[in-house]
């Protein structure tokens, strides 16, 4: 059952966050209300292309970086 899923600790953009083991990056983005077309995801130092976000799952201690384009010169 969903409710029994293991809680894990991950780091997202430098902030500690608890998540469920096996949660996909796609779901993480949705939880964060981020549009995957606007964001690039790096998972444990490896870029995850958009089609692979659904397949890529979080594990204990994972590090996720979510980046986008901001104003700069």
């Amino acid at each position: 059952m969903e409710s029994h899923k293991l809680q894990i600790n991950v780091t997202v953009n430098g902030q500690a966050r608890s998540s469920q083991a096996g949660q996909s990056l796609d779901v993480l983005l949705r939880e964060l209300q981020l549009d995957s077309r606007m964001v690039v995801v790096e998972h444990n130092g490896v870029i995850v292309r958009r089609p692979d976000l659904v397949e890529t799952r979080l594990d204990e201690g994972d590090n996720v970086e979510l980046v986008h384009f901001v104003g700069g010169g």
Binding site: V12, N13, G14, Q15, L32, Q33, L34, M38, V39, V40, E42, I47, R49, E65, L66, V67, H68, F69, V70, G71, G72, G73
Partner: protein, 267 residues
Amino acid sequence: MWVEGNEVLTNALEIGGRSFQSRLMVGTGKYADNPTMVQAIEASGAQIVTVAVRRVNLDRSQDENILHHLSPDKFFLLANTAGCYNADEAVRYARLAREAGFNEFVKLEVIGDQKTLMPDVVGLVEATKVLVTEGFQVMAYTNDDVVTALRLEDAGCAAVMPLASPIGSGLGLLNPYNIRTIKHRLSLPIIVDAGVGTASDACVTMEQGVDGILMNTAIAAASNPVAMAGAMKLAVEAGRLAFMSGPMPRKEVAKPSSPTKGMLDQT
């Protein structure tokens, strides 16, 4: 740019296999607000617009994303690696930027010193080599040293971007000789990046024969950024056109503009 007559004056700027009409490129940082930024960029006539790669702010993410303000259909988004202090870091940012899916171009910055924001040329050449292998079109922000510029050309850059003066200083073109030398010795497009402070700086820079200018603070930090963007558009075009027109020689001798013949007899 110059539509009447002479074809040689109207040529587009070619970088990395793409063609651009405007020789003025602008940054998107440091504006008081986004509407001002959008208006200024439109007034500048720029096609190439630089953006930075940064973490999504998880608390109030919406407004920061530049794509909410500038359409990638309308502008060519050139991601930079600003804030990176070594080759590996810059390569990482470049890869993330490309993954955003707009283009394979990157304005490569490898900063060597926090106080002056001058580039680390060793790291810059190193990162260039990696990125070129991966198919990037690298536009390398560098200092005004011709030897480094030659190494960047050898490393496969799409364009070399020497500075006029330090980023954000507005000191203008401190060493026209070095910029001219880089332009003469390289075959690549030369885009002067950083240091322009006002319109005449942009104009005199283009008169050195370079292919374009990238600026940010000179527009964003003017009292009236939108009007200054318009001034910069005109100044870049003026400088380019003057360069192509072959200015008169300067000489320490006066010469009348009106005829010396045909004067009346003294009464």
